[in-house]
């Protein structure tokens, strides 16, 4: 099987980002922030604070009114180099699990993938990816309606990761899952990052999730962004970190930042 060459993760730098929806107030009011290469950064904040909008801007799904984003080395979503995990699994119901993963290969314009992969190779790659996401083999050829919520999210993550992205954007990917699946998928994400680091941006409501998964946490409020909270817990890490004192302190720092921003 041919594996596409892995490229270095990109860093993302945002300067003075403004976004305004039609006939509405500014959703983002001058965002300056850095997402260092090969790190996972969480965006937390109350509903409507603009965190999902910022993520969509990074993905190129939302136009900016003003400001700039620098991606270095350059990466494009259309090439599968920037991948996006939606809040819902967003699987096509008429395609089996594996065909949903193959879709990313079919649509992505990456020369490394589409230009050189035969349908057989694409299938092998998708199978490999689903295996890494620990989806049971007998579920590969099932339709989404036959899969549990956790399984669907595994397929969704596999679809995002199959193009070997250097940047992974995640919009509350685990919000709709039960605690058990949430924990399992969080661990899996960390393991995937340990094997092949990517630049991750994770939007979440869940402070513990942000503390566990990321290197730094930004708190957003009313379209503005705060100073990053550095997460210096040891790596590789898993759920067991949550019982440590350092984790408790980090959790407290994030939630106090959230509170103080909330009182602006």
């Amino acid at each position: 099987m041919q594996t596409p060459p892995s490229s270095l993760p990109s860093s993302l730098v945002c300067r003075g980002l403004h976004v305004r929806f039609e006939n509405g107030p500014d959703v983002l009011r001058g965002i300056d922030c850095d997402f260092p290469a090969g790190e996972i950064t969480s965006l937390v904040g109350p509903s409507g604070c603009g965190k999902t909008t910022l993520l969509r801007v990074l993905a190129g799904l939302q136009k900016v009114g003003d400001g700039m984003i620098d991606i270095d080395p350059p990466a494009k979503a259309t090439n599968g180099e920037i991948a996006f995990v939606f809040q819902q699994p967003t699987l096509l119901p008429w395609r089996t699990a594996i065909d949903n993963v193959i879709l990313a290969i079919q649509l992505s314009r990456a020369k490394t993938l589409r230009g050189n992969l035969s349908p057989m190779e694409a299938m092998e790659l998708a199978e490999h990816e689903l295996g890494l996401m620990e989806l049971p083999k007998d579920a590969f050829r099932r339709f989404p309606r036959e899969l549990s919520g956790g399984m669907k999210m595994r397929v969704s993550l596999a679809r995002a990761l199959v193009t070997r992205p250097t940047v992974l954007l995640m919009d509350e990917p685990f919000a709709a899952l039960d605690d058990l699946s949430r924990t399992a998928l969080g661990d899996l994400l960390l393991r995937r990052w340990d094997e092949r680091p990517f630049t991750g941006v994770l939007v979440t409501h869940n402070i513990a999730e942000a503390a566990l998964l990321s290197h730094r946490v930004f708190v957003l409020n009313a379209g503005r962004i705060g100073e990053p909270i550095m997460d210096d817990l040891p790596r590789p890490r898993d759920e067991s970190v949550k019982t440590s004192t350092a984790f408790g302190q980090l959790y407290a720092r994030i939630s106090s930042a959230l509170r103080s921003q909330g009182h602006d």
Partner: protein, 246 residues
Amino acid sequence: MVLALFAIVVWQVVVWAGELPAILLPSPWAVATAAWETRVDLFHGFRVTGAAALSGFLLSVIIGTSIAAVMSQSVVLRLAMYPYVILLQTVPIVAIAPLLVIWSGYEFRTVVLVTVIISLFPIVNGVTEGLLAIPQDRLDLFRLYGASRWQTLWRLRIPTAIQYLMIAAKTSAGLAVIGAIVAEFFVGTGGANYSGLGTLITGWQKMGRTAPLMAALCMSTLLGVTMFVSVQFISRTVLNRWMTQE
């Protein structure tokens, strides 16, 4: 089923007790006997009308889906074309059938033409709606990968629209039979070498033969049901994977 049997029994009893003239309301038994006696005509009619309805219906699906595919591509095209599509729906088919006979002749193709006109609207309407009713996150997914218009149509819009097409097809299948029979009322009177169920119905009506007329009516209903059930069967088998939009 029980209800149908009960209705037939009541019908038979009413005819006996009321001593109604057979030209007004023949008994179920008389209708069954007439059906047997005219079975050759009826089966031939069933085949001819069935062929016309099926051809018209299939053409509607092909033409309707194509029109919908074009209309789904831009608001301007939709605004330009939709009035004509509505015109198709609002023109009384019984009123234009004679005109179509004049233009197209006492032919099988005229019957197909009328069938297409009557069964086209639900398909265009349903498929257009389906092509446009795409959940935002799926559209975002395709936009993210920079999918072309063609890729989005082929891999996202058309698969989504299949469900809408099949719902529309159930309505259209019934309309197709109505269209074929209405057309045959006019085509059959020309003395042409054409005999569908519609031709038989008008012929027997003129002769006052109510019993075979009712048998022909039953055959028409059977044809409609057959078309409907076939569409349903195809939805549940070949197209099943497209029928749930979870």
